[in-house]
């Protein structure tokens, strides 16, 4: 990660203290095992069973 507006080859401006991790959407896209449906669709605790 580089400071905003700083060229990538400007070594003294490299961020030293924060290392962002890269999201991996493909790891959350597999249909199986299919886990709890997204809560934005419904979700939460059913009752009475």
């Amino acid at each position: 990660m580089l400071k905003q507006g700083i060229k990538a080859d400007s070594k003294e401006n490299e961020v030293k203290h924060i290392k962002k991790v890269a999201p991996q959407p493909e790891k959350s896209a597999s249909p199986k095992p299919q886990v709890t449906p997204p809560r934005t669709a419904s979700g939460c605790i059913p009752v009475g069973d």
């Binding site: 203290h17 924060i18 290392k19 009752v47 069973d49």
Partner: protein, 426 residues
């Protein structure tokens, strides 16, 4: 676990000593060094580390965006019966699965009309979910079969995928019923609270006997058709009656479920139990990670959700779709926005095929706004909390239960810790 914060940037000092950073708006996760931690947590900060924190705080990610709900109802839960063969101590369905109005079987004609109406509004290429609840839904397998057949006919020739979920106590699952659920590719959740010494007390039969042996036999039937099911999950309920999350996990972990749901049933004066539950759940996360890393951790449904949100970088604005994408019908066809509100006349938003749209309008605002989540740092992973929890604890759907927030933040912090580890490794 310690936390420090500067506006959008939160630092989590984990129990292992590492520091993980989280940007609440950008949904970004990072590893921080000790100087960055100090920059957030002490006044005598390292200037360079502080500058980096300030810069991160001010950044607006182009990768993160808002999760958008589908326009219209895409999820319909039905009490296919309002009787149950068990009498669980914590049952929120009137204490006996009836919601105070026993119905051996739902009014199928009304349900058909409701399903026809809702499916009519689903566009081609869309999905629709029908969830069978109760009571115990498997007291009426023929009704489930009939609904399945009806929905299939309704979408014949249209490009609409209908999914089926069912939540069952598992005690009535025979080979025939397992085949029925397999033929529907149903997502099956079996309710079981842990080992027999716990489950038999929490979830006795109406006659007061333990139900665990029957539930385990039902699970075996389901495991035999697991490859044909959409998914097979278990659901355990914790609360003041039961906080032994670790013992439950150890009992259920080897059974071969795709997913484990560990939920908390709220009640007055539940602070101590809530914190014990969250503490045990965090320990379970540690153990799951030790056993099988990301895959095993994500079998715990809430951690899977957090990983999905962080991977997609879609900000949640709703904890659920109640009243927006989700409706519920009780056995008489009375509509509420959520199964938890079933039987409450004041929460009714319609009946049969008549929907009171002015009442639904009350649910239109995003829950993070409606519940005044403001700058809460987990707002876009939590989505604003649960209206039923609020109502149970505070008497009003939109007044936040602070204990829910405390519990949720502590569990999400653990999820972020392991997300950083999982994605840093790879």
């Amino acid at each position: 676990m310690e936390l420090a914060r500067k506006d959008q940037v939160i630092a989590i000092r984990t129990s292992k000593g590492s520091v993980v950073g989280f940007h609440a708006r950008n949904l970004e996760v990072a590893r921080l060094d000790d100087l960055a931690w100090s920059a957030l947590s002490s006044p005598s900060a390292d200037a360079e580390a502080l500058e980096e924190i300030q810069l991160w705080n001010s950044q607006v990610s182009e990768s993160a965006s808002d999760a958008v709900l589908p326009n219209g109802v895409r999820s319909f839960a039905i009490n296919i019966a309002q009787i149950c063969n068990l009498k669980c101590g914590y049952c929120a369905a009137g204490g006996d699965g009836t919601f105070g109005d026993p119905m051996k079987e739902a009014d199928l004609e009304t349900l058909y009309e409701q399903i026809r109406m809702l499916l009519h509004d689903v566009p081609n290429g869309g999905e629709f979910k029908i969830t069978f609840l109760g009571g115990e839904p498997l007291t009426v397998p023929d009704a489930i079969r009939a609904i399945h057949r009806f929905a299939k006919l309704q979408v014949a020739g249209r490009d609409i995928k209908v999914r089926y979920d069912i939540v069952t106590n598992g005690t009535l699952v025979t080979a025939v019923i397992a085949d029925l659920l397999a033929s529907m590719q149903a997502n099956v959740t079996v309710s079981i609270d842990g080992p027999p010494e716990v489950n038999d007390i929490n979830r006795p039969t109406k006659g007061g006997k333990g139900s665990t042996a029957k539930t385990l036999a039902g699970i075996q039937q389901l495991l035999a058709v697991k490859d044909k099911l959409g998914s097979l999950s278990c659901g355990a309920v914790f609360g003041q009656h039961h906080t032994g999350v670790m013992a439950t996990y150890k009992f259920l972990q080897p059974m071969g479920f795709d997913s484990l749901r560990f939920d908390f049933a709220v009640g007055d004066g539940d602070e101590e139990a809530s914190r014990k539950y969250a503490e045990e759940l965090r320990s379970v996360a540690d153990l799951a990670w030790e056993i099988g890393g990301e895959l095993e951790l994500r079998r715990l449904s809430m951690f899977d959700l957090y990983f999905r949100v962080l991977d997609s970088q879609k900000r949640l604005h709703n904890h659920c779709g109640a009243g927006k994408t989700h409706l519920h019908s009780d056995s008489r066809g009375r509509l509420t926005t959520c199964q938890w509100f079933s039987g409450e006349q004041t929460e009714q938003v319609g009946a049969g095929t008549t929907i009171d749209h002015s009442r639904l309008q009350e649910y239109a605002d995003p829950l993070v706004e409606r519940h005044s989540c403001g700058s809460c740092w987990v707002r876009h992973l939590c989505g604003g909390g649960c209206m039923y929890v609020n109502k149970t604890k505070k008497g009003f759907k939109h007044e936040k239960d602070e204990e829910f927030c405390i519990r949720t933040r502590s569990i999400i912090a653990k999820g972020i810790e392991y997300y950083a580890e999982a994605r840093y490794q790879s």
